[in-house]
Symmetry: D3
């Protein structure tokens, strides 16, 4: 149960995951069967609280599947709670400033330091006593610090953001990014594709892992990997279930001459 | 929120459902999007208890999706509990005798009668006082009494079983049936297919609704409908998620030259 | 937190309770404010499971309010589980035979004896070794054994039922009784009133505590007390909330000229 | 399940609701029976978390009863979480500044915009691109933005507060307001009544819906409606249960000569 | 996550476990730290339901700690439910007949066979078709069938009981056994010790694993191992916490001159 | 159920508690058996949410054991939520400024005042109207305001911090303090011991109650009491269980010649 995901990334592996929103205890077998490296547990949009997240983190971690938790806002207290609950990585949503990343690094790489002392170290990392440095490195080994890049202001200052020491990865949020660009849900728009390609490229140049959380066809993931992405965050349990169930039921209806059902909406996260 | 599934069956509709094992509250939208008539909540094999089943029943029923609950054994007390929790139909597993069906009919069509009085009425249905008859008919309107046929002894006495007054439907359990036949999981075996066809035929001759709970390709459901089945119980959330996730992830792995993952087992219910 | 309800009954007090179906932790203050002696937790009709019942039992007992739990059927294993969870009394529903009462007495007065030894003692109570008798008496002190009388067959053999050693109380179930009499929900019918009066009278002659669980006006309880009842089981949280909310809202609607809402049904337990 | 409460308000209807603190799944029937338009789910004072609120929101919304959720503080992240959980309206407690309202409007009317872009739009609403405007309007249709006015500083700047574009409604918090005025719980005090009347009048002049959450007699609601209020938030499940139970039990005690119980406190929210 | 406990027993290892009643997700680390082979999850006396047991089973199994579940009564349906939830072994309480053991063997070694076919096979094990035999052996590999011996009638027919094919282990229940012997809680009584020694001896002669669930000093376990026991079921979380907390607090009180607290009772399971 | 812990402190008693992380309902008996005055419920590090904390607070308070809740950050909204849930005292972690303490005092001693009015009163406590002062004193009677001192910056300004009116107690956090001092987990280091002694001394000089939360030997608590501490916060359920279980199991292993298990880590909070 040691935290191995960071090692896999260091070795240059592509790592694979999906977003899981159901806490049914037998769910973890489905994820295990697919040979995934991590699950993405999104507490920004999915109603899951600490007790549920803790149970999920402990269960997936015990199976060797790293639990990566998105917190609702870039709040270092929330990050610490999720690490205590068993998360191996934290995703902070909608990050647009170096300050926000430093806060997350403080929570994920210097735990249990807090308050004035932590503030001083984050401003001048070299001032930390060597013994203490060793202690917090061991204490926080394997904790991954990941941010969501999902807005133009973030893309514009990406060079600065990616250079904050302690940052490990970037998850691109396609829905928010497309809306922020004024191209809502137009994931095929060349401007959108261009921005995604830029983010991937800059991340890899800065040795930051990068992936995009996308709930549609797996072919997209292949394309982004070809552009440099090394994290696959493929869809979610509820999107896969919803899309495939509708497809199957309509196939049956059509075969027997029943009227096909028009879905009233998409379920993605 | 009146119980409408029995009406749909009476009108000759084919009704559609899936098995749901996750109690995540957003799940019901996925089922609604697919235009389903009912959900099959299986408490025989899935760890779900009364509180969870009650929450699911209330939620699906409020959306106009009928909750059909399988109880762990043909126990009339359990059937009553699930009706009180909001179920619109009960599936009793592995039924092999008329006595078991009568017990279920007592729980589902004569509630709240119990004890000696109920026993007497089940033996001699005509002895019930007319006023009381009217009361219990109204009280239990729309409650569906469904049994699992999943063994050779049950098939051998199917004619008697299907004639018990009050029985509404049959769910064929393919796993148990195939094992009972000594053909475990050989769903393509001609003997297995023959027995399924016989059950479907006899049910429809006796005006009993019938379907088969199957977690693989939707094409099978089309075949069974062509043989007379009028209930589609297509797969389950966990089977669809597990199968499709593995397929998608292997597609990505193969495309980028990663080694494909060998699933260690099937997840069906 | 010793079990005091049995003492109150022995002293000749009238004891007061209500049926509670919500497990919201602040609920117990509402019950405390009304000065109740016990809560009636009904697991026959209300979806509440062991975990929830245990939490409720521990909380009410800690406040000096005795938790009395109705189990779904006269099953001694269920009775033991609820005593282990903290219940001070068990109500077995729809009892019609001495055998059923003996089973409950075995579970409630001879715990942890079971199996062949218990069977022998229940048949010949005097054969128990004196030391063991003392041990189980202390071990089970304060456990109340209560049965539901709610059918004509039970009324007909009431004299025998009430004489089973170890029986402490009777709860009359008005809904089931009225249906069993062929007078569904006709609680004002003279035949129904007569049978209730007989049950109350016989119970008190046999020194058995008795009450009736009724979800309408408190005046009825007064009438039954005047006939000898010494347990008040007045309504339930959901019935009181539902009835009073409808009354209040309609009062507001009427006052301002809005159309009054026609309730679509009664909520009682 | 479309969000209809805002439409009812636009049409000039008086809308009716109550505060619900129990998550028992059968509760929603009691609310439905009373013909209510909405439930008020208060997460400021009642211990209810996201999982529970999501289950309640989905269930009430499926029945056509709009779930309105009060968050613990005027925090836009919390507002987004509750909308994701299924809320149709958010109540921000103890608002005293235009900035707080703008934050809520950002969360409820411009979702999923965030960060710098949202900040710019909230400051200069006309700068939003027309296409994007259309998208977020559709995306957020029916989300109600409600604030609690419950202090003198808020009343003093009410004209400014009520003019923030996007604000839909005001809930008056009588307990906090009375304490803030130095007239704790003196709801009959003429000064208190005067301030309530002023808030109602100003709201309606600004075309803002308004109501007052009050746990005592329904006659008060009638009075406030006559002053212009168009939202009735009548009492709560726990207050109605506690008050009526105490009344009924004391009626029984008095009738039979038992000592009446002195309640040790009020339960309101 | 394959079921390994049966292998460890076959190899002649002594296996170690404790009883766990808390479902806090971090608990499993405490059990892991002690190097245990299994946890004993007791649903006979502890209020834990299927959902909780399933979560615990999945979590402990994922860590390589086998979950062994005691069901409330020797009910094969309950046994199947717990295996479906992830249990690797089932303990049936208070077994006194060969019939009860056969029922458990049916549930644990012949799953998913049921009904008439299973009955016939249990009576004449050799009549099972060879292919089907292979299938159910694979399907049920590693499922442990354990019974509680805790009464004199059971001891008297121990030779017959231990010879039922498919039985794997015996847990001695000291509390029930001592009460059944008329020596309640007299665990030092020579008669009690003698009976325990006999049970251990007979089990090992029949190649049945055996242990005793005891919540006091570890020295007792050493003694029973010396007599032949090969399963250690040492105490429970709540007994260890309760005993040690009282000891520590009294040590502090005594050291500083505060009055020592007299515990009002023992907490064991 | 009145809040008595503050009274015990005023009378000069040493008060005793432990940290409880399991919400199993029978747990409270274990705490009651040890004669404790309070439980420490830590929501900073332990995954426990409002629903669970509310259930625990109500249960422990009903037994006369005061629930003291640590919130994840010094956030007055969180403090109010926990008081509403039934907490009798709040611990704010890692406090380093007078402003933070004032925020907590506002939440705990002036509830339900908020916003501008509360701000003005906290700055100039004497400006509160006498009637209102009386009201909030009664309303908040018994609420304990406790802070964690666990850093050198806090120790350096301890004199100012301890003089903020309304502060009741200090919990020393040994882990954070030792790390902040650059002496991680070196609880025997003379520098660490010296700082603890200073904090204790200054607290008692300012009539502030003080204790240290420590998960190892009870002898330490005796030492700190001798230095002036008047609160004992001895270990936690999970630490006691983990430490004692490992000790017992290794004792058994060693006695029978099995290899002793090397624990892979400590479980403390």
């Amino acid at each position: 149960m040691s935290k191995l995901l960071s090692l896999k990334l260091e070795k240059g592996n592509t790592i694979y995951g999906t977003c899981v929103s159901s806490m049914a205890p037998l769910w973890s077998k489905a994820v295990g069967n697919a040979g995934l490296d991590f699950v993405f547990i999104d507490t920004e949009h999915i109603p899951l609280e600490r007790m549920e997240v803790a149970a999920m983190c402990q269960l997936y971690a015990a199976q060797g599947i790293a639990p990566i938790v998105r917190i609702p806002s870039p709040d270092p207290y929330k990050a610490c709670q999720m690490i205590d609950a068993g998360a191996e990585g934290i995703v902070a949503p909608y990050v647009e400033s170096e300050e926000q990343i430093k806060d997350m690094v403080g929570a994920l790489k210097y735990k249990p330091l807090k308050g004035e002392k932590l503030k001083a170290i984050l401003e001048h990392p070299k001032t930390i006593e060597p013994d203490l440095k060793g202690y917090v490195e061991t204490y926080n080994r394997g904790n991954l610090c990941i941010i969501n890049i999902e807005s133009i202001p973030a893309v514009e200052k990406l060079d600065e953001l990616l250079k904050v020491p302690g940052l490990d990865g970037v998850f691109i949020g396609p829905h928010d990014l497309s809306v922020n660009m004024g191209l809502p849900e137009m994931y095929d728009h060349p401007e959108f594709e261009k921005v995604v390609a830029i983010i991937i490229k800059k991340c890899r140049e800065n040795n930051i892992a990068v992936g995009i959380h996308f709930s549609e066809s797996p072919e997209r993931q292949v394309k982004w990997i070809s552009e440099g992405a090394n994290i696959v965050i493929h869809s979610s349990d509820i999107a896969i279930f919803s899309q495939q169930l509708s497809k199957d039921i309509n196939k049956i209806r059509n075969s027997i001459g029943d009227v096909s059902h028009q879905s009233t909406g998409n379920i993605t996260i």
